[in-house]
Subunit: 281 residues, 2 copies
């Protein structure tokens, strides 16, 4: 793992398979759509089945931890197996856990998901900065050491998010909270000498109300497809940052299953659309 | 569980044992202090041993999920057992997970920790509002249904927290983000007809820079003892809200172990100090 860095592995996976990120959201309704019960066996068949069918067709998978935690300790074991399957498929995993804490507690999260030998190791995790971006430092440090990455929530598409993310920071900069997250992520990447800190920015924002100038990392953009986001809108939304956007689709992909041919066809179509996401002229 | 509500159970536990909340933070250094290895067996002996020794002496325990997640799926099983031990001891559990997400994902977290039949059921969990307080609604609804509670991060003591928590909300109210969390929690409790939404406010803030007037729920105040917080400072810090503060101590308690008599003596001393936390004259 430490033989390569997360930005290198991600770039290689995207070069091979495109930038489409397939979200693994084993929600009860999605399991039912595959004829599966909303139990541990259904969780496993859906999650590991999805990776098996799409291995070699997708560069990035994003399992959502909440749906595994909902099944208790055994659900975490399925998550562990799913993460191993993704690695075996030569793809990159971004584990969506949105953890955020301070000091030794944040270190413990890093030990769980990022550090060398982590029991639930992913190539990268998502993190939440309500306790301040700087409180996430133990995760960034563990990621640097292990050649992994951290995607920090910056600006999400849900309407309730603006109340926090667009609040004006108390430091006289006049910048919004989300803008300060962008700046802190850019600074962390400069310090690390490699863009191991990415951002989460919603794909369905009507306009991009933060400035990504100077940020050289990856941007995870959830919400493609069933949640309303369209790949062809991403070039306009993200401007010059568009080539570093990872458009993420979950139900839009899995709704085509469980038939393997239809799943791969859906992924190919979305991947083609995402390949067009570039700097708009 | 639904036979009673979380606020009722918490009030009864505090009436019996006082308001001291004992944090269960199975950090490697704490395990070493008890002569335990930082492995699964050490995790279990520390966490369940602490509850066994303090059963009947403490009304509220706060296990920190990160230290259990660090041991993978088996660590979650120890957490599950520890939560069951707390319930068996007649005490109240506040599981510190700081989860925060939207829609069906937040529902999945509620299913994991709060809903009837949750595999990792706690009396209450902590939640993080970076995606907006309103995004936590599925957790609040599940808690209401199951007679459980949610403590939402408002204002934390770590210096990095101010950048987000004291940012000024974009709605022309002029209120800080943390102040809006207080208002939203108060409104949620009015809607629910019972104070099932609590707040997390750091015990080591030099001054309380949010106004708790009108908030009638419980206030979890971590940081007593080893982190620098003193029970006798809480009356001054929290003013009229002081009688609803749950002072939380972790290392300050566990550093007295593993000797049972010394652990109980430490808890008795801290409980006495916390019993003095009332409205300052």
């Amino acid at each position: 793992m430490s033989a390569s860095t997360f930005p290198d592995r991600l770039a290689a996976a995207c070069a091979r398979h495109g930038r489409l990120c397939v979200g693994i959201d084993p929600h009860g309704a999605s399991l039912a759509g595959w004829g599966l019960d909303d139990d541990l066996a259904g969780l496993e068949r859906f999650s590991r089945g999805l990776v098996a069918v799409l291995a070699g067709h997708v560069g990035v998978f994003k399992p959502q931890s909440a749906f595994f935690e909902a099944h208790g300790p055994d659900g975490l074991r399925v998550l562990q197996d799913t993460l191993a399957d993704i690695a075996d498929a030569g793809a990159t995993s971004i584990l969506d856990v949105k953890r955020g804490d301070i000091g030794s507690t944040m270190q413990a999260y890093a030990r769980a998901y990022l550090a060398p030998g982590a029991p639930l190791a992913a190539d990268a995790i998502t993190a939440s900065p309500y306790l301040g971006f700087a409180s996430l430092a133990p995760a960034v440090e563990a990621a640097a050491e292990a050649g992994r990455g951290v995607f920090v929530l910056a600006r999400t598409s849900n309407p309730e998010g603006a109340a926090v993310q667009l609040a004006i920071a108390p430091d006289r900069s006049g910048d919004a909270v989300a803008q300060q997250v962008v700046a802190a992520a850019a600074a962390a990447n400069r310090d690390a000498g490699t863009p191991l800190v990415g951002l989460v920015v919603g794909a369905t924002l009507p306009v991009l109300d933060i400035d990504l100038t100077g940020f050289d990392g990856w941007i995870l953009a959830p919400g493609i497809g069933a949640q309303g986001g369209r790949p062809d809108a991403l070039s306009r939304l993200f401007g010059e940052a568009a080539p570093r956007v990872l458009p993420s689709a979950s139900r839009e992909v899995t709704a085509a299953g469980p038939d393997p041919a239809r799943l791969r066809e859906r992924v190919a179509r979305l991947s083609d659309a995402c390949a067009q996401v570039a700097v708009s002229s």
